[in-house]
């Protein structure tokens, strides 16, 4: 089992640790609901050192790097980030990722923990031309600072320059003697930042951020409820190698005007019609649908729940899944397993509508 450089810190904080994608990670500290609410109201600190990072240097004119992504990396300004996918030839999602354009010829690609090794194989299989790819995952740590007060907490460490960071941009900052990338990105729907710090200074950064009374540690349990309230997909659960971005309803992260691996299969799927449709639902009570519950309409099984949980913000069950037919907002469904049947109503994402990710003044992402 792999561990992050923060394992001893988590133990000191009495975290409950559990395996996650081959890593021993903190699931909770004080409790999922309290950590969730603290992130929505103040600022949570997450150990995300398990995620993978690649540094790629390439000449876009003399390599096919751009074809690895469903979005156009050639039109990105240096200092910006973009979310999207890398696909297999059948258009299944190999991973969802964020690309950072560092310089004209240099990128950082941030990927999921459990898929890092497979991504490296996938990238190397398809890359050709003038391109150099390095897996820098071991040695590079990552902390996420998320919540409406995250700028107030982080500014004390970075200085006022932080204010210039817009949503989905990044810059270099001098922190604890290192020049590190900080991006205004995250997975909670709140104003927040992701900090990329070499492993050797991660403990020091963690302690410095936690010394602020605005900041509390938050585990992967609340990370999951926070992302689900936004309707964000979790790789390996909501999106996999067997699901295409069109089936997942994530078309806006796919640019069909450019070439990429999997595009032909995606165009064919678009032409032939989709057999899976994403569905988001709110349960009628605190009883919560769970992964693999059946989606039932008028007594017929029409799909499966991929993520379901109690929503600490809405105080009812919420979830997402796939159905064999499109369902209209407001339609009544049931989520069933064994003798449990949970009535629910089809809705739109996000479930939680007051997120501050795009700014404190325009809540509602």
């Amino acid at each position: 089992m792999k561990t992050t450089p923060l394992l001893e810190e988590h133990k000191k904080l009495n975290a409950r640790l559990a395996p996650f994608g081959g890593w021993l990670m903190p699931i909770q500290y004080s409790g999922i609901i309290e950590e969730h609410r603290w992130t929505r109201s103040s600022c949570g600190l997450f150990d995300i050192c398990h995620m993978g990072e690649f540094i790629i240097e390439a000449d876009l004119a003399e390599s096919n790097l751009n074809q690895l992504f469903t979005f156009d990396i050639s039109s990105m300004r240096p200092g910006t980030c973009r979310y999207g996918f890398t696909l297999n030839e059948a258009a299944g999602i190999v991973d969802d990722l964020v690309v950072y354009r560092i310089k004209n010829n240099k990128w950082m690609v941030v990927v999921n923990a459990s898929t890092t090794d497979n991504d490296e194989v996938h990238f190397k299989k398809y890359l050709s031309g003038k391109v150099d790819l390095k897996n820098v995952s071991s040695g590079l740590g990552k902390l996420d600072l998320q919540g409406p007060k995250s700028a107030d907490a982080l500014r004390k460490i970075t200085g006022a320059k932080l204010e210039r960071l817009e949503y989905y941009t990044f810059d270099y900052f001098d922190v604890l003697g290192e020049n590190i990338i900080i991006s205004r990105t995250g997975y909670t729907g709140e104003l927040g930042y992701e900090l990329y710090m070499p492993d050797k200074k991660i403990v020091q950064l963690w302690q410095a951020l936690l010394s602020d009374a605005l900041v509390k540690p938050v585990g992967l349990g609340a990370r999951d409820t926070l992302r689900l309230e936004m309707g964000y997909s979790l790789y390996g659960q909501d999106i996999t190698g067997d699901i295409t971005p069109l089936e997942a309803g994530l078309d806006k992260f796919v640019d069909l005007k450019k070439e990429f691996v999997g595009k032909d299969a995606l165009l064919l799927q678009k032409k032939n019609g989709l057999k899976k449709h994403p569905v988001f639902f709110i349960a009628g009570s605190r009883r919560s649908p769970r992964h693999n519950y059946r989606i039932v309409v008028n007594g017929n099984d029409i799909g499966v729940v991929t993520s379901g949980s109690f929503s600490p913000s809405l105080e009812v069950g919420i979830g997402m899944g796939y159905a064999s037919q499109p369902l209209a907002v407001g339609e009544r469904i049931a989520l069933e397993e064994g003798n449990v049947s949970i009535p629910a109503v089809v809705t739109r994402k996000p479930f939680y509508k007051n997120g501050t990710a795009r700014g404190l003044k325009h809540a509602n992402t």
């Binding site: 699931i27 409790g31 349990g221 009883r287 919560s288």
Partner: protein
């Protein structure tokens, strides 16, 4: 972790307080701690029958759904309706305000299938090794 005297315990981490003609049941401090924040309890209905070690009620935490098993057989006399709106009472007060149901036991000899506080303490210690 609290393991009060004078209660009896199951391997599935329910407790039962056996009084004259009634048995009050709930889940232990260890159980609520392992489950984490409890978000839903499907409390049993008065009049329903309980069978020892068979599912009696459903309980959910943020992360998972699980069953509560009856520590003794009998008829359910009443259930804790407070838990519908405030399932977190089981976290804050597992042996008192978080009680789940009161059963009229059928068979006092079922007591021999339960653990006393000393045995349950040993049992829980064995689990955390």
């Amino acid at each position: 972790m609290q393991i009060p005297d004078r209660l009896f315990y199951t391997k599935e981490h329910e407790w039962v307080r056996l009084e004259k003609d009634v048995a009050t049941i709930g889940i232990t401090d260890y159980a609520q701690g392992s489950l984490g924040d409890i978000t839903f309890v499907d409390v049993p209905k008065a009049g329903a029958s309980a069978k020892q070690f068979k599912p009696l009620a459903a309980i959910e935490s943020v992360k998972a759904a699980s069953d509560i098993y009856a520590p003794v057989s009998g008829e359910i006399i009443k259930a804790n309706s407070e838990l519908t709106a405030h399932p977190e009472l089981i976290n804050s007060s597992p042996y008192d305000k978080g009680w789940i149901a009161v059963i009229r036991p059928l068979d006092v000899s079922e007591k021999k299938n339960l653990m006393n506080p000393a045995d349950y303490t040993k049992y829980v210690e064995g689990l955390s090794k």
